[in-house]
Symmetry: C2
Subunit: 522 residues, 2 copies
């Protein structure tokens, strides 16, 4: 069903010693031609954005027979998750890893017959099978895998153990993380740095530095601007376990790349005959007029599209870049103005040294702070994926330094072993005007103060994004969850309208519960 | 959307001291009137069976606009999973517990806005907070929760540790359990008893007896007829961890009962206007004729329904009770003739002693071998759920002993604390002609020998069931997975037929993979 043909997107960058830096890499996520279908009718639903939230919403709605128009700023589907196949190897530019404990993305993989198409990113036993820790002074120490795990595990467990049960009492339901709202608010007010102050007497310098390095690439922010609760939430989702976190968040990737899955959702929707779309069309304004008229979505180029309902899947950090009428709720505006803190950089390096397949590098205070072997390319080189926090920061944009920063930062993990870098590939999410950051990670207080407003529908406009999902917030899974939620809400609404009723998603359930409560002894 | 009105089903039994035994209990899963819509047309799809596999298939197909007829033997939806609300309390007659790591059922809970409606079955700290172990001689020993867990955990870990990694190497992908097919076949040929012979020198008598009791209610069979691989598969699905198994399989239940979720799927399908149904209509024969004519499904009462495709969700143990033309594949026939081994009994007891809320009882060689406090009823009594293996066996059928066996078996866990039993509720799955057993648990060799055939489509007839699902086989999650799979296969087939093409579910993916492989160094 899905296309396997790649086209060049204007996004992404590649460096090779032969060609130097090039902008634009190929992806099966690029949609050509960039528009389809008549756009001048009043659609049932207009979806803004073709990341997983948008793709799921439009797939669910079109399969259910509704007429949907997609308006996407980029030339491709996938949003902050997309892959590029280069010389027969899938490089993941954003969201990458999935797991069968992530319910929403796993269901999509099953739906499209892809649940067996997993590859394992980090493997042990191949060549230089150790973790190298580059110290602030540039010297380094090698740890065995066991030493590495135990050092980090000891530190992480002290970090999360707020309740004597490693977070299980605080967050008993990871998909309902605010269940204990008052206690959660207390930890949500704290930063990583605040939590260090409580535990640093109890950890060794190496444990603390390894922990900080690890945390810096979960949040992509600073120790001061990353909310402690956000990590507690990750921890709970990962079954309260470091091995769980490693397995669920960093181990299993799609052999053919994430764009292969995104393409399945998109092509499924196209095949229904109910999808109209326009790529390369950044939205300038969304107007939900008083009265019965349709919502109007206007692009920067001045085209106007109309629909009975809109699902906006615009990321948090660019929510204020669209003009909304009526204006966004105060919580949405403030949250977007502050922005989530994740400005992580991700750089792929192909290195002519197959002995790096099992290598892991930590470089606290390096512009890239963490790397591990992620595969062997068809050319026989090791593919390493490298992450860096937003501070002290690396300027990836080729125009500014022609990539010298990225190349030096990669080599710094292990100068002699990584001497022969054959390729770099990356997407500079922080310079991306439609993302302005990577995966969602909130600052202290933001979850408590803004999530309710962020999730709130405004009139005929619904907001769906991984950035405010209930479960795997900030992950592919959360995007699919939230997109499906929006689609279901609208499907029920259209159904009720057809029957002349008010939609009542939980009618039966609520009545039954009242009955239960009525029978309870007081 | 879902109805909250309960009707009496002919199924299930209840005993109270006042009324004695009664057959038939109420459920919102009972559908009245029992039939809907014209049945004399050729439907797109006829679904046999309204368990979760059938409900998922018919919901997915009707939402996608296909015309579906459901034919169900019983007077209710849910198959081997259904609940009865009695005096304001939901009793689960079959499948009960769910978890956010079970992707398919979790997605359904989210779809219907029910993912926050969880209750915790076993809780600690309420009254008699301990595990009582009744020995074969009738004497008993009390264990603290920690002693109980450590005793069982030590034994289970020795039981599963076939690879020095507690099964992780043998089954690295729990949703693709035969990934290491050769090694798996070796363990699939072994029974629990065979595995005991390898480890019993290394465990204490108490550890072994606790392990056997625990295993007896995972398999519902004997130590000799339960396949060792089946438990290894459970273990892998539960994140290779006893605490994981307890949390994923035995902790979180739906406040309003499973029939509330089943009803959401059914009512969703009804609301599309594309569903026709007939309850109380056991199927006698399924005929897929040569040539282009539709498949004919004939009921015992002699009615005939026709459809372009059939999805049969008939459980393994009753598959041979329908006459199939052409005949079932040999593997299907043989597997059904042998049958899965699970003849577990499940009995709910309401006991006038709130101190039992945190109580757990083990009774190796008792007719019911395991119980734990599962809730407090509106009347203030403890609800205990009790399980028994099929051997030495308990005859639950009221006609045979008016329930004396069940009552005595319940009280045997703790005669003085359980003196005042106020109610028993159960469904006798082994005497149920449409189930002939409880959740699927295969005998040695069956997975290796029969699963491929069981999963195989025959002409225009597809087979979907938890009993041969890929992931959570034998669980609610597996039923939903397999039903969704069948629906997707048919939806793609109808779509391709409309476009005059062959359906090719994985076209793009396969081509891409060939490309990858072609680029790989030889």
């Amino acid at each position: 069903m899905a296309s396997d043909e790649q086209h060049f997107t204007s996004e992404g960058h590649q460096w090779t010693p032969q060609a130097g830096f090039l902008s634009g890499i190929p992806s099966i996520g690029v949609i050509k031609p960039a528009s389809k279908g008549p756009s001048n009718k009043v659609h049932d639903v207009l979806v803004i954005g073709a990341g997983y939230a948008g793709l799921t919403a439009l797939r669910d709605l079109t399969v259910a027979g509704h007429d949907v128009m997609l308006v996407e700023a980029r030339d491709r589907i996938g949003g902050r998750t997309w892959s590029s196949n280069i010389d027969g190897y899938a490089f993941e530019m954003g969201g990458t890893w999935v797991h069968w404990n992530q319910p929403f993305v796993w269901r999509e993989l099953a739906r499209y017959g892809m649940s067996k198409d997993l590859e394992v990113s980090p493997v042990t036993g191949k060549g230089l099978d150790r973790a190298r820790f580059v110290k602030p002074d540039g010297s380094s120490v090698d740890l065995s895998r066991e030493e590495e795990f135990n050092t980090l595990d000891t530190a992480v467990r002290k970090f999360v153990n707020v309740d004597g049960q490693y977070g299980r009492l605080l967050i008993p339901f990871p998909h309902n993380p605010h269940f204990n709202a008052e206690d959660v608010a207390r930890y949500d007010a704290m930063s990583f740095a605040d939590r260090f102050a409580q535990i640093e007497h109890d950890v060794t310098p190496l444990q603390l530095q390894l922990l900080k390095t690890f945390l810096s690439v979960t949040s992509g922010g600073t120790m001061e601007n990353s909310a402690f609760f956000e990590f507690l939430r990750w921890w709970a989702l990962n079954n309260y376990d470091l091995r769980g976190l490693s397995e669920l968040c960093l181990t299993y990737k799609l052999r053919d790349g994430q764009s292969a899955l995104a393409r399945q959702l998109f092509d499924d929707a196209v095949a229904t005959g109910h999808l109209t779309y326009r790529f390369g069309a950044p939205v300038a304004s969304v107007t939900d007029p008083a009265g019965d008229g349709p919502v109007e979505v206007r692009t920067r180029a001045g085209e106007t599209f109309r629909a009975r309902r809109v699902v906006a899947t615009v990321p948090l950090n660019v929510l204020n870049d669209i003009s909304w009428s009526p204006p966004l709720l105060a919580g949405k505006r403030k949250a977007a103005a502050q922005g989530h803190v994740n400005h992580c950089t991700k750089v792929h390096a192909e290195v002519a040294n197959p002995d790096l397949r099992s290598f892991t590098g930590y470089h606290w205070e390096g512009p890239l702070s963490w790397t591990f072997g992620d595969g062997i390319t068809p050319a026989g080189n090791t593919h390493l994926v490298c992450f860096g926090p937003s501070y002290p920061g690396i300027q990836l944009k080729p125009a500014s330094d022609a990539g010298r920063g990225a190349l030096a930062a990669v080599k710094a993990f292990a100068p002699s072993e990584m001497a022969d870098v054959r390729r770099l590939v990356f997407h500079d999410w922080n310079e991306d005007e439609f993302a302005k950051g990577t995966w969602e990670f909130l600052a202290p207080g933001m979850a408590t103060n803004y999530l309710d407003d962020l999730r709130r529908r405004q009139g005929r406009v619904l907001f769906a994004s991984a950035d405010w999902a209930m479960g795997w917030r900030g992950f592919i899974d959360g995007a699919i969850e939230d997109g499906a939620n929006a689609a279901m809400e609208l499907a029920l609404e259209f159904r009720a309208a057809k029957e002349g009723q008010q939609p009542d998603r939980n009618a039966g359930k609520r009545v039954l519960h009242n009955f239960l409560m009525a029978g309870w002894p007081s």
